[in-house]
Amino acid sequence: MKQAAGRSLRWYEHPAVGIVLAILFLGVLWSAASRFLGFTSFPGPIAAVKELRFLITDPAALWAILQSVGRMFAGYVWALLVAIPLGLAMGRSRIIYQIFYPLVSLAYPMPKAALMPILMLWFGLGSFSKIFVIAMGVSLPVLYHSYQGACRVERKLVWVAQAMGMGPVARLFKVILPAALPEIMIGCRVGVVMALIVMVSSEMIARQEGVGNLLFTSMDMAQYATVYAAILVLAILGFVLDALFERVRRYLTRWADSNEGGA
């Protein structure tokens, strides 16, 4: 939580404290569930954490994780480069909206990962198809939220810019983009989640070297501790990306009133 002006953080509002509390809470829950269910294939957190130690010290596993992260990063960047301008333009121009909207909204609910086996045949067995599906998955929330944000920009801000003689393209980047930024950021954050979903499911459906493959191969080999260690890797990856992202967001939208605390 962001600090309110003139208001001090309580002890539990320190981010680290909250995270530790949440981890403890989840750990206990997991441990209890694992004990209660008693499945071989559902080990508790301690076994998973032990295995995690091996996993992150093994160069081959690290390499697999790195490959996943690399593809995810590439897909994410591509998605941002395409989706943000397109979403903003759709929010501001009727024509662009009408051209792209049907296409975009038809293609989006498609489970891109399900296409993996076919995409691999279209684009070859290289990295491209994997990056492509991730980009598709990420661009969805980014596009929607950019569009949404662009629609909601206070019109007088646009008017001021117009009156200064700013053209439509410049306005898109200099006025609509910053004004819609808080909303776009929500999309980007969901995009991180999407990227992970697509990455894992595509590596599951088409076994490409990476952390998702590691996970499902371990499952096929009955290495359940490794399975959950891989899930932990994904969780840590997601958490770190999300936290990095939150930093960027705070910096970029530091001008916005966050009215923390709500009611």
Partner: protein, 304 residues
């Protein structure tokens, strides 16, 4: 640079000779000199067959069913060049297990029960259907079949999610340690012997590059020979490929607890033909296939 490249698909598990070639290329003098391999991993044999059909693979792992379907539905034309795993008397055979204390003792007891399977449309699945039919059960009406896959099968049986489920290594080994399950029937009851997976290479590619494929098959054979000699090596490379500890594999790999491995990888052509015929009779295949179309006598293990 002008060394020809062979594009090969592979999966986990039961392709130890490929794993050895991947992880110990230095043991294969021809590999890298006469030809090189571009390895691509797949999930199951169907997408590999599709990939070969799309001409992005030259050789791939196949099962009798996926190859036959590929041939009938999409005109795939491969040669069967080597055999990876089969079921023979004395070897492991995929079995369906029930709880130790389950009242299910025979096929008839399965009426109205839930049966797990690995993947709809796989050979294992169709053999199970054959078994049900042979025992007078209608797979559509008398039982409910759910797709569980192999990994959760044991837990699914124990927790009562399914009444019977399929078992393969390494789950079988794990399970023997834990206990509580007993086999109900095995695939060998249906067809004896039967071939699980073999290596197929595109006819077009093979006919154009016979020397490359021949060298590849020879290396596969050599690999299998080395592994038979030294099962510990098999456990080692499989462990490297799957990241599971070698100890897991040394418990069953290349032992009677595992599928049958032909030391020279010679495909059991007759068994495959029998599978085609069984499937055709049962209506699983639209056409009857003649195995001769898929054999080129000079390029089939064992080659010299």
């Amino acid at each position: 640079a002008d060394v020809p490249e062979l594009r090969v698909g592979w999966t986990i598990p039961a392709e130890e000779s490929k794993y050895l070639m991947m992880k110990r290329p230095e043991l294969f003098p021809d590999l890298g000199k006469k030809y090189t391999i571009k390895w691509t991993q797949f999930q199951g044999t169907s997408p590999m067959v599709q990939a070969m059909r799309a001409d992005v693979l030259d050789c791939a792992t196949m099962a009798p069913m996926s190859m036959a379907q590929g041939y009938i539905e999409s005109g795939l034309k491969p040669y069967i060049v080597a055999q990876h795993a089969a079921e023979e008397p004395g070897s492991f055979s995929v079995y369906w297990a029930v709880k130790e204390d389950s009242p299910i003792k025979s096929a008839q007891d399965l009426k109205g029960k839930v049966i797990g399977t690995n993947a709809y449309g796989s050979g294992v699945y169709y053999h199970m259907l054959l078994w049900l039919k042979e025992n007078g059960l209608d797979p559509e009406k008398d039982v409910k079949i759910v797709e569980t896959g192999f990994p959760p099968s044991a837990d699914a049986i124990r927790s009562g999610r399914v009444d019977a489920g399929p078992m393969v290594p390494p789950f079988t080994v794990l399970n023997e340690e834990k206990g509580g399950l007993r086999p109900l029937f095995k695939l060998l009851d249906v067809q004896n012997p039967n071939v699980q997976i073999f290596e197929g290479c595109s006819q077009a590619y093979t006919d154009a590059n016979p020397e490359v494929v021949k060298a590849y098959v020879k290396d596969l054979q050599n690999a299998m020979a080395k592994l038979k000699e030294n099962p510990a090596l098999a456990a080692e490379v499989t462990s490297e490929i799957t990241r599971a500890p070698a100890a897991v594999f040394s418990k069953y790999l290349l032992t009677p607890k595992d599928f049958h491995r032909e030391p020279n990888m010679k495909p059991n052509i007759d068994a495959i033909q029998e599978t085609f015929d069984l499937y055709h009779e049962a209506g699983f295949l639209k056409e009857s296939l003649d195995i001769k179309e898929f054999v080129r006598d000079d390029i089939i293990a064992p080659v010299k």
